[in-house]
Symmetry: C2
Subunit: 205 residues, 2 copies
DNA sequence: GATTTCCGAAACGCGGCGTTCCGTAATCGA
DNA sequence: TCGATTACGGAACGCCGCGTTTCGGAAATC
């Protein structure tokens, strides 16, 4: 349940006496979980279906993960964590803009609804929320915070703005449209939203 | 030639033959559902508990509502729909600002977590999402749209801004903090967010 | 080869949803 | 007044999915 999934005490997994646990089965389970997650979302995911598709047994799954929530978050993050890496090349504001648009393309894609279903589950399941915050939301915010700080140093952003407010003003509208679907979440919206949000914090030039 | 009894039946639902349905029981069920919803959220709400607390039977509940989702949304909206009415007195931007701060105080209160749990349920349950959009989100957006239009007419807002983007830029950050809880949702945040969001669309004076 | 541990299959208990059945209570029509 | 009709509370049921237990067999270490 901590960063990489290590459900049981495996300090010296290979040193133990008997038959070692099969990493191959673990990967097949993660793969099957990811496929079913993409097809049916978190609520439609059942341990029984994962076991059947992976050719494994429920006991084996529960040996690796404490429950459905941990398995789902692991499968989700194994796929999405590497996506949309943070750019580090141009000006701070340009990096931030590119990051936001990359996030939009992720949330617009096949895994957008899955992201929404896991965020929704996190509302009532503290472990899912903690995992999503620590491994999906926060890693991006950490880098975005740095970029905002660089933008302030470079004189591209007003020094009195609160970086957290800036981040929430950028992420909030995206996730709102992802979760409600009341209006389309696309590049056109991101463009307007970016212009609107940055006007309040960026230094006019 | 249609039988006269048919027209009579169709026009007057309460004129049916047998024992009439008790509106009093319906209200007790709604009340019990609201109490349990506030205490345990949507996922912790069970029909059995509602029936017991209301002194009713499950059959009666299923006679009034098709399922748990419909009962929960009705109970939620019966309490929250009248809250935070839209002000209509001062300047358009002042009305909009007051509306946003009223919404923050609602989402910060006892029913904030319940709101989050129903939004979360709506992600996977189309009926809950439709009910929340039509009876919670959209009524406020309709009025907020009008205020934005008035602000544009009054020259307080740039005429080229998309009202939907403005609304999402205001609501999005609030709901993001409500759902994730990564940073506090309070008046201080609302103040900064408001300043930041409006700077991009309001006309400087 | 003996021991230890993992594996897949099957069955179980639990809880909650939604349904069915029964005896009772309330209202309408004759 | 009396039967027909409909709603009510209580109890039981089937269903499904989670998480657990049990069992026989297989794989790796000693």
């Amino acid at each position: 349940m901590s960063a990489p999934s290590e459900a049981h005490d495996a300090s010296c997994a290979t040193c133990r006496r008997g038959r070692p646990r099969s990493e191959r089965v673990k990967h097949k389970v993660l793969e099957a979980a990811a496929e079913l997650l993409e097809k049916r979302g978190f609520k439609g995911l059942t341990i029984e279906a994962v076991a059947e598709r992976a050719g494994a047994s429920k006991v084996t799954i529960y040996r690796w993960w404490p429950g459905k929530a941990a398995l789902a978050t692991d499968a989700f993050l194994a796929v999405l964590a590497p996506l949309a890496p943070f750019p580090e090349s141009r000006s701070p504001l340009e990096d931030l803009r590119e990051h936001i648009f990359g996030l939009v393309s992720v949330l617009t894609g096949r895994w957008g609804p899955v992201t929404a279903s896991l965020i929704a589950e996190g509302v009532s399941d503290p472990e899912v929320r903690a995992a999503m915050l620590a491994r999906w939301i926060e890693p991006r915010r950490v880098q975005a915070r740095k970029v905002v700080a660089r933008a302030i140093e470079a004189g591209e952003m007003h020094p009195e703005v609160d970086p957290e407010v800036v981040l929430d003003s950028l992420y909030g509208p995206l996730y709102l449209r992802l979760l409600f679907g009341h209006e389309p979440l696309d590049a056109a919206f991101a463009t307007q939203m970016w212009k609107n949000a940055l006007a309040g914090s960026a230094v006019a030039r």
